[in-house]
């Protein structure tokens, strides 16, 4: 397929405006020295170009998308409709507070809902994504310790099953990451936790359920131990869809949390739209909150605010979509978690006679296949299975993560898939299993039906070509 620039023919274009019939006089200063590289192409050709690109992509609208820990669930259309209402869509962030009372009310209402869901006391909507929310939460923790004159706390504890963003956020916040081992059940090893807790502990970052899809049974003891050592507990809300409406992070000992509106609260992500990672906190962290909040019709800043995490109030239209979602689902919010857990267990149950499950127990919203024993026997890898799924019209699960499972395939069906879709995916997985043993090369050669076949990802990483080179003909 040609790039749109390669389809460009000089002089061809779209008659958006009639040709200018008066002389144009412009000062030289703001003008480009050279014409910008813009494709010259008819509207008809342009429409076809982008339709063809869309047909070659795979999104939630095309098929099953069980990308573990990413929660690629359905994005209800009504959310988009509400976010497109001109009263929301056409606001300007510099408008005076009294002219945007509806928007402020929505933010305040959504804050109340998220406080109810998490058990926290306040929410900042500034963070523009999940990792940004983690970073915000860690800065709150840091501000809290610093404010008390407790500057010796330099370490953040992170389990080895954590999302890779956790140690990255801790480093960004100026902390040293201390890795806590998982035990043989895939949850936090209490002895290792105790061994690493101390006067240097600023806090613990925990995802619960974690990336192997397990809810830590010792969670009350874990958060108690961290608090006893003087640290705070940070809840990574990436997997909140597994417990929403059933367990509140504040009730199990957490002090601060981020949520992904673009996962749990059904707003689009992964190229489909901007993210939003609001950070919720308990009252004692409120003096440090970032950004501006609207109080009695005026914008004010918290007294010891950590500053701005982003411009203005965060991705407001994403909040509108999440708000629409919560209003739609209402008091049935717990059904999100129930269906997420049911769907994951259904798939795990239907696959576990063939595929080795990393931690074979009732899972939460996702489960992990550890293909290592099969790989050792057949040389068919997790990557090969992922590629083979493409020929069935299924987006592959997350692979080679979490790192504690070798040849991992991390499957999150999400709560919005039907039993029929899950059954089709189960059939695909079972067929691929047969092929691993009867025609392994067919799996190693997959995919065969996609617009591009197996890519050389090693070469792509070693010799990346990141820029299109224009021929400088004009």
């Amino acid at each position: 397929m040609k790039l749109i620039f390669e389809k460009s023919i000089p002089g061809r274009g779209q008659d958006i405006f009639p040709a200018c019939d008066v002389p144009v006089k412009m000062p030289a200063a703001p003008l480009r020295e050279k014409k910008a590289h813009l494709p010259e192409i008819s509207e008809n050709e342009m429409g076809r170009h982008y339709t063809a690109l869309a047909k070659r992509a795979h999104g939630v609208n095309d098929g099953f998308y069980p990308l573990g820990s990413c929660t690629m669930k359905h994005n209800p259309r009504i959310n988009e409709k509400m976010a497109n209402l001109p009263g929301f869509a056409k606001l300007h962030p510099l408008q005076p507070a009294e002219t945007v009372q509806g928007a402020n009310e929505l933010i305040a209402d959504l804050e109340k809902m998220l406080c109810e869901i998490t058990g926290m006391d306040g929410v900042t909507f500034q963070p523009a994504a999940g990792a940004h929310g983690e970073f915000t939460g860690l800065l709150l923790i840091k501000a809290y310790h610093t404010d008390r004159g407790d500057t010796e706390r330099t370490e953040i504890l992170v389990p080895d099953a954590a999302h890779g963003t956790n140690p990255a956020s801790a480093t960004m916040a100026g902390y040293k990451t201390v890795v806590i081992k998982s035990n043989e059940n895939g949850t936090v090893d209490l002895d290792d936790l105790k061994a690493h807790l101390g006067p240097k502990t600023a806090g613990l970052m925990l995802t619960n359920p974690n990336t192997v899809g397990l809810f830590d049974p010792n969670i009350m003891e874990i958060t108690r131990l961290v608090h006893e050592a003087g640290g705070l507990c940070y809840y990574d809300g990436a997997n909140l869809n597994a417990v929403i409406g059933i367990v509140r992070p504040a009730d199990i000992g957490f002090d601060v949390i981020h949520m992904n509106l673009h996962k749990t609260f059904s707003t689009p992500h992964g190229g489909g739209g901007p993210g939003s990672g609001p950070c919720a906190y308990k009252d004692f962290l409120a003096p440090f909150a970032p950004g501006l909040v609207c109080k009695d019709g005026k914008y004010v800043r918290a007294e010891k605010s950590i500053g701005n995490m982003t411009g203005f109030y965060g991705n407001f239209l994403v909040m509108v979509k999440a708000y629409a979602y919560l209003l739609t689902i209402g008091k049935d919010v717990h059904t999100i978690a129930e269906n997420a857990v049911l769907n994951a267990n259904y798939m795990q149950e239907k696959l576990k006679d063939l595929y080795p499950i990393a931690f074979d127990t009732t899972c939460m919203h996702e489960f992990v296949i550890g293909l290592d024993p099969i790989y050792r026997k057949t040389h068919v890898s997790a990557l090969d299975v992922a590629k083979a799924l493409l020929d069935y019209g299924i987006h592959p699960p997350t692979i080679y993560f979490p790192l504690i499972v070798h040849e991992a395939l991390m499957i999150e069906p999400t709560e919005t898939e039907t039993k029929e879709t899950l059954d089709e995916a189960i059939t695909a997985f079972r067929e691929i299993y047969d092929r691993i043993f009867n025609a392994p090369e067919s799996v190693q050669m997959a995919p065969q039906t996609t617009p591009v076949l197996r890519l050389d990802d090693t070469k792509a990483a070693r010799e990346p070509h990141l820029r299109y080179e224009f021929c400088d003909c004009e």
Partner: protein
């Protein structure tokens, strides 16, 4: 040619080759084969302090990024620029492709002999 039998090993899959008082450090054949095709290496700079049991840098493959733990405490006196340019050297020649050379060594983690390491990873 380096004889892997002559090297010392760690449980984190690094090897150590002493050159007088100084030590070359790299990762084992097992480590490179588990990681798969390496595409990128992060090394400390000459003059940096490194500490036994703590990361000295990391290696990135198409599958994952993994820390490389330093088996000794000391000061980096040389780094291998060749592997920064071409990480595949580690895949093709793991025992020849050292990462860093450490001097002023004051401590080390517990080492395994080649036979002990083979048994550990066997």
């Amino acid at each position: 040619m380096i004889d892997p039998k002559e090297l010392k090993y760690t449980k984190d899959d690094e090897w150590v080759r002493y050159d007088g008082e100084d030590a070359y450090i790299g990762i084992t054949d097992y480590a490179q084969s588990e990681l798969g095709d390496l595409v990128f290496v992060n090394l400390p700079e000459v003059g940096d302090s490194v500490f036994a049991g703590e990361p000295l840098g990391d290696v990135e493959s198409v599958k994952a990024v993994a820390d490389v733990f330093c088996p000794v405490t000391g000061e980096v006196i040389e780094i291998n620029e060749d592997i920064l340019d071409d990480a595949s050297l580690i895949n093709s020649n793991p025992y020849g492709s050292w990462f860093i050379k450490v001097g002023n060594i004051s401590d080390n983690v517990e080492f395994l002999t080649a036979d002990e390491y083979d048994e550990y990873r066997g």
